[in-house]
Every structure is written in C-alpha cells, then in structure tokens.
Subunit: 378 residues, 2 copies
Amino acid sequence: MSSVHVELGERSYDVLVAANLIPNLGRHMAARMDARRAAIVTDENVGRLYLEPVRQALSDAEIDSVEIVVAPGEASKSFSTLERVVRELLAARLERSDIVIALGGGVVGDLAGFAAAITRRGMSLVQVATSLLAQVDSSVGGKTGINTPEGKNLVGAFFQPRLVLADTSTLDTLPPREFRAGYAEVAKYGLIDDADFFSWLEENRAAVFSGEDARGEAIRRSVAAKARVVATDEREAGTRALLNLGHTFGHALEAACNYDASRIIHGEGVAIGMAMAHRFSVHQGLCAPETAERVERHLAAAGLPTHMNSIPGRGFSTSELMDHIAQDKKVKAGRLTFILSRGIGEAFIAEDVAPHSVETFIAGELAAEPAPALQTGE
Amino acid sequence: MSSVHVELGERSYDVLVAANLIPNLGRHMAARMDARRAAIVTDENVGRLYLEPVRQALSDAEIDSVEIVVAPGEASKSFSTLERVVRELLAARLERSDIVIALGGGVVGDLAGFAAAITRRGMSLVQVATSLLAQVDSSVGGKTGINTPEGKNLVGAFFQPRLVLADTSTLDTLPPREFRAGYAEVAKYGLIDDADFFSWLEENRAAVFSGEDARGEAIRRSVAAKARVVATDEREAGTRALLNLGHTFGHALEAACNYDASRIIHGEGVAIGMAMAHRFSVHQGLCAPETAERVERHLAAAGLPTHMNSIPGRGFSTSELMDHIAQDKKVKAGRLTFILSRGIGEAFIAEDVAPHSVETFIAGELAAEPAPALQTGE
Ligand SMILES: NC(=O)c1ccc[n+]([C@@H]2O[C@H](COP(=O)([O-])OP(=O)(O)OC[C@H]3O[C@@H](n4cnc5c(N)ncnc54)[C@H](O)[C@@H]3O)[C@@H](O)[C@H]2O)c1
Ligand SMILES: NC(=O)c1ccc[n+]([C@@H]2O[C@H](COP(=O)([O-])OP(=O)(O)OC[C@H]3O[C@@H](n4cnc5c(N)ncnc54)[C@H](O)[C@@H]3O)[C@@H](O)[C@H]2O)c1
Ligand SMILES: [Zn+2]
Ligand SMILES: [Zn+2]
C-alpha cells in the first residue's frame, strides 16, 4: 500500500492509494482518530455497489454507522441537499467528535465534506473516493462546497479530511465516460508543471485505461502533485490557483449547459477548457501552436472532447460565456485571472487578462467548423 | 475611543467601543483592510434606523455598497434566509476580497457572519453590533451560525471578523426588553470568573441601564473578558465552554418555546439558565444556597426572569427539556457537560453530569410554585 502525506501542520493527513482498501477502512480510521460513530454519505449508484462493504469494514472495527443516500449527479451539490444531509446528521445525534464518511465521487465528496464542515461547526471527515476524478483531485486538499444558480462551487468551506482512501479497485465499476473525465485532471498535473509526467502519460495511456499497474502509478503521481501544491498554499492565496488550469472555460461551459450530464460532465469541461487555455495562450502569443496541438492530440486519444463545438446541443453565445466567466471565483477586483501556458508543464497565473481579448478568442472558437458531436455513451 | 484587541495571530482584530462610532465606520475599515466594495446585511428594525448613516459613512470613505435586508427575529437564522443572503451576495458580484458588514444584533451577526464564511469560501467580515448582547458577546469571537428544527446554532462556522464596532449610541434606540436580555450576558462574565465585576454590577446596575458612563464601562469590561477567553481557546476545545454558563438550560427553553419571542428571547433564556445552573449546583452540593439567591436577586433587580415558571404559557415537560438538552452542542460522547459553579466567579466545566440528576432537578423546578408571568412589554 502506498501513502501520500499531505503536510498541513496539525491538519496533516494521509492519502492511501492501493487496490482493495475498503475492507480495511475501519482499521485505517481507528489507527488515526477516535472513531466510534460515523455517518456514511453516498449516492445511489455508489451506495448500491459499496455501502455494504463499507458498513462491514466499519463494523469490523466496532464503529457504529448510519447512512445518508443522495441522488447521483451534480444537482445534489445544492443548498437543499446540503440542508437535508446536515439535518440527517443532526437527527442521528452525531456529535462533533463523530465522523462523516464521504463515499463516492467528487459530488459526494464536496457535498458531504461541506456538511461535515458546518455541522456543529466542524465534525471529522474521511474521504473514500471512488471515481478517478475524486481519487486524483477532489478528495485531497480540503475544498468543499455546493453550486447555486449563480455559479459552480461559489459556496463552501476549506475543510481538510482526517484521512483519504483511494481504493483503486473501485474504478473497475466506474463508467468509462467517468474514467475518461477523471483522466482530464490526471493530464492536468502534467500540463501544469511536470512535462515528464505528461510524456509518461502519452506513452502509458492505454495501460492506465486498462487498469494495469500504470493506473495506480498515475493516481499516486497525481495525488503527490496535488499534495505538494496544497501544502504550500492551502487557501489558494497564490500557486494553488494553477490547479484551475482549464477550469474557468470549463466551468463556464458546465454552467451554460445547466450542469446537464447528458451534454457535459466536469472532466469533459476541464478537457475542453485545457485545450482552450492552450489555444488562447497561442492566440496571446505566449505559446507555440505545436504545444496546443500536442495537448489536443493527447486528450482526443483519451476519448476526451477538446472543442466547445463537440458538446451536444452546442449553441453557446460569446456573451453568455463571458457572463459565466465573470462570475467565476478567479476574478480579482474586476480583472480576469486565467491560467495560461508557455509550453507543456509551463502553466502560469495571468492576473490581468483583458476581457475583450477573451471575447475575441471565444467568438473565434465559436465560429470554427462544427466538430462531430461528443460521444457520451459508454 | 477605547479599543480591545482580540489576539489570534494572523486572525487578530480590534473591537472598538465608544459612542458615535458609525459615522467613522468607513475610515476605520479603510485603515485596516483593502475596502472598496461592501454588502450591508441588516434587519428591518435596525435598517430603518441605521442603514442610512452606515451607507453615508461608507460613501465618505469611497466604499461602494449594496444592502441585504432580512426580517427581524430568530427565525431569520435559517437555511432559507442563509441561502437568500448568500445568493444576493453572489448576484451583487461581490468578490472574495470584498466585505460583508453585519449591521444589527446577534441574529444578523450570526447569519451574515456565516454567509460571509461560506460565500466564495470566505469573504471579509465586519461586525457593527447594535444590540447590547451583540456588543458584549456575539460579535466577538467568531462563532457564526444558524438554527435548524433539531436545535439552535447547530450549523455554522468559526469565522473571525476583521473589525468589530460597538457603537454604544445605538443602544439608545434598543427596546428595553432587549437591553435587559443583553444584560444577562454582561452579568455572565462576572459569574464565570470575576467576582469583582459582579459586585461592581450590583452597585452600578442602575447607571448601566440609564446609559451613563457606566454603560460603556460595563461593555468594555465584558468585551475584554470575552477577548481573553477567545484568545486562549478559539475553537472551544476547553475553557471557552465556560461562556456557555446558563446556555444549556437556556437553549432548551428557547427550543421548547419554538423561539417564539413573545415567550422568550435568548438573553432571558440565559438569565433563567444561569439561575438554574446555580440552583443545580446547590442541588449537587457544590455551591452555597446564598450564592444562588444572590444571583437570582441581581438578575431579578435587572428585570430578568430567573425561573421557567415565569415564561408566558409555561407547560414544559421534563422529558421534552431533557430531549433538547441531549441535542445541545455541549454533549460529549453521551455524557452531559454542564457549566456549574462553586460560588460567584467560580464557574467550572463539569463533563460527566449524570442525566438522571438533571432530570430530578428539572422535575423539581417544574413542580415549584408558579411565578408571576414574565413581563414581556417594553
Ligand atoms: N473539491 C475539489 O477540489 C474538486 C476538484 C475537482 C472537482 N470537484 C468536483 O467534483 C465533482 C465531479 O466529481 P466526479 O467526476 O467524481 O462526479 P460524481 O461524483 O458525480 O461521480 C460521477 C458518476 O460516477 C458514479 N460513480 C462514482 N464512483 C463510482 C464507482 N466506483 N463505480 C460506479 N459508479 C461510480 C457516480 O454515482 C456518478 O454517477 C464536480 O462537482 C466538481 O466540481 C471538486
Ligand atoms: N455568536 C455568538 O457567539 C453568540 C453569542 C450569544 C448569542 N448569540 C446569538 O445572538 C442572537 C441574539 O442576539 P440579539 O439579542 O442581539 O437579538 P436580535 O439580533 O434579534 O436583536 C434583538 C432585537 O432588537 C432589534 N435591534 C437590534 N439593535 C437595535 C437598535 N440599536 N435599535 C433598535 N432595535 C434594535 C433587532 O431588530 C431585534 O428585533 C441569538 O440568535 C443567539 O444565539 C450568538
Ligand atoms: Zn476539476
Ligand atoms: Zn448567549
């Protein structure tokens, strides 16, 4: 079993990455915290597959548990579902020292993590990440939150878990489209600051997708990259913003699609967003066209979309996208902040991007040839 | 102008206590933070009186502002009002570096403070406390939150303000019943660990109520006491729990009255709760009966209730109160935690109170002579 340590002083914790971790969940918890009672928060899909083994693992370690099951999908990251989860935690009479276990992908992790942060002003949190995206990204680093009609992830808390489990065996049941989407965040770590890792992915993509050892290796390297960034900048005062590569465009597309999963899911938005960020960097004269093409080629080879035009339904307008971009978190005092790039592994924070240059760029992208509709089937 | 410093490392801040502070609000903010845009959150009562002067003070310092007005009363500390405030902050396009000003009593302070904590994962917060209770207690120390049907203040965040203003002139318009209720928290500081302050209050009560210099002095001493406790135990791992003197019983009574202000308001619950905590201490053989009588005498002289029986409508049952007590925050792993006392200024944390002794005590209190109905008029 491999373990990555997230160093945050008294808020430090371990991320365990390995196959078949869930049967030992209770023991891993008991070794690290005073664990007597827990609430397992999950969604219907993940619950059907993993609630029973998790319950069993807890009971093996003499931890009492209750379950809170929410509907799968981004729509559960809402005020109303948050209220329901919080009230169920209270109704179960869980106390401040008891544990919330977020069992699922990023949706469950963000929602249950936020509920743990605000219930009794902070319970203990354990993330059991079951999607590739959650294992390599959302379960690590303490960002939790929900969406509102004004935008994605605009409401939340920084709240670190006490332990994260990335049981790679759970990925065997993950729908292929979700695996591809999570892969976008894996590739992101290479694109930010690790050209070697990006090259390694170019060579090992097939093995990562077929679930061989390379899959675990890719997850470990991704977690280690995320842990490094979080340890230096827990609250995104600076470099942590690099993790938002592709996310400003991506979030705008998700919002423009009303978070409708039949059109786009988070990782697909990130894939298109990363490709756009590189093309925009070319457009700004910062980056060679070959770099942007290399990024597109790798994402496309992984079955990911790279253009807005490939989103089913299309029909975005520049002004609607600009509107969502302005509402995004990464706006500082009226100036647009983007993560741009000078090459593979050379992303940087550009804090004063002129809105009109973004507008021109988006208009150009929208005017381009319609691409074939994104394949959303499995 | 007098200023109390709350020492919390990089989260330190000042509490300014003086008459006529509001006209200089903008300047005090500008001296301490990058202040360009702010949202003023207030309730209808306070807004009618102070929104215009606050707006003027901000515009004098060239700070743009928007307003968010909620209904007065405890019912606004709800998930639905929280959602409304958060969404109005987002709709106004306020950014993470912008400021939420909580203008009002403890209800507005707790609600707006929590909204500031979770909007964009934390904006800047300034508390402009206008009730006596808010000036001496709720605006200082960073506890923010809302209620749910499961109980009071069970959902929230620790979130420190950047600045607190206690403009004592605003107390001239505070309804007398609210002033009395806030006074319960003033007396609390004497009862916890400052017998001299309690004696001073016994002598100066009339001057405090008539708004002479003694009023400012009582507020300053209270804020200094709260600041000391918060600085040593920000997150209530230990001694900060002493501030809950009277609150376990008080919260149970508030909940049993459905937070109906025509029956009970927070400070009245605290007054009854503190009298009960002392009588319970006598019942447990910890404290002399004369001490409990002295506490009752002072609270009654201030026009505060000291028995459950004086709550209009009465009719509480032991089991319903025990139920609310078990749901209170101060329960640890099944044992009841109470703040008890050995004498004036000698409160302590009792962590293993047997539920049945509380039950016997409450049953005894309920069986006592009915007291005259509480005077809730002004
Ligand atoms: N907090 C952060 O730092 C952070 C970072 C990145 C993304 N996110 C958030 O994460 C969310 C996306 O996460 P996601 O992609 O995991 O989505 P998700 O949680 O919706 O999971 C995707 C789908 O896969 C199913 N699923 C998950 N694990 C499974 C398994 N092992 N077997 C079968 N089905 C499984 C889920 O039920 C769901 O239908 C977004 O809301 C995004 O904003 C947060
Ligand atoms: N966060 C904490 O540490 C903490 C501590 C103690 C109490 N509290 C909370 O504080 C709340 C009670 O606060 P409160 O007693 O200030 O109640 P409140 O905010 O409801 O104010 C009481 C009433 O007085 C009005 N008012 C306030 N200032 C006024 C003024 N200057 N002139 C005229 N009217 C004015 C309000 O509109 C309201 O009707 C409770 O919810 C309690 O849980 C929090
Ligand atoms: Zn992401
Ligand atoms: Zn109080």
